[in-house]
Subunit: 225 residues, 2 copies
Amino acid sequence: MYKVYEIKQRVFADNDREAEKVREELKKEKTFLLNLMSSPGSGKTTVLGRTISRLKEDLKIGVMEADIDSAVDADTISRTGVKVIQLHTGGMCHLDADMTRQGLQELGTEDVDLAILENVGNLVCPAEFDTGAVKNAMILSVPEGDDKPLKYPLMFKVCHCLLINKTDVLPYFDFDIDACIERALRLNPEMKIIPVSAKTGEGMEEWYRWLREQTEQWIGKKENL
Amino acid sequence: MYKVYEIKQRVFADNDREAEKVREELKKEKTFLLNLMSSPGSGKTTVLGRTISRLKEDLKIGVMEADIDSAVDADTISRTGVKVIQLHTGGMCHLDADMTRQGLQELGTEDVDLAILENVGNLVCPAEFDTGAVKNAMILSVPEGDDKPLKYPLMFKVCHCLLINKTDVLPYFDFDIDACIERALRLNPEMKIIPVSAKTGEGMEEWYRWLREQTEQWIGKKENL
């Protein structure tokens, strides 16, 4: 079961300041928020489904699914048994900090260690708005091509972690993974880059480890971690 | 060789009226404008390259490549020998009618039968702005998933033609092509839907035929068509 929430749009003079407030609130609540971004169809929901299955015994997880107007993803994620809400952006192509704050309020963070925001499928606009998340991660899938860092540089600059997904289909695409990694690192030398296949599970352990470490650094060590 | 053009942003009270003006101008100039949209990495540039090679003997073609700030695609397309300019949107996630008008002016339409605008890779924002194009086409590639009509309905509603691209990798993905077509037609019963592989060329003849017919209906029959 999940709730559908229609986000009210408000214009904030200073989205960055609002984002800082969201982070302060998260710190107080001991909730880590990950903002997950990508193109449509890169596998965000599949990555998320696997991640929840792997981590839900150790961390209390809550998910916010942002979408223009369907509830396809919330439907899928709700089957994992974690708390999930659907955010309808009313045609908006991204989430800003105020929208995220509304979503967090609706989700309820008091019993959530790890909150994940699945942003609108879009490599452009979501990169321009700090949502207030503690860390940003993005997924680039093999079929999209190794030139994407050249074409959507801001997205690669603002993300702390890049998953190169669908490595299982590498044999069928002209995708130069070394070139892709080099291009991403040129934009963002600190970026953590993990090639994965969310379908077969290959590489996913490193991702779970990264996410768990980031969460733990933010909320403090949990006994069961 | 191609020019890079930095688009000036202007706010138009009525983008739809501006779009109508662009179309009137195109009609006078006997230039057909196609607005080509899709997610990042769905194969717009590959489709375009093949289309140009196939049609450039029959039609005088001009291309406008819209991108946030690279010139990767203009570089590729310029090798086909047709007139191409790069439009930099300055971070904007879409083109509106005024931006398109600026682009057409820069491209020069007096000797162009078929102008193609490769819009910013994005399934959300470009759908919301009438560019002034005579027809809209979109590409959905197999790796993106058959649920995209459910998640980005407006894009499917505003397009006259849908290419389902990368059919050569259908065996490696869970993509239900019949379900996808049914979902698209439910949103837009008039939509022309053509499954293609721009890589192998499969299905592309039907697309060339559609594009040639649309152009001819707009500019009048050419002797060599």
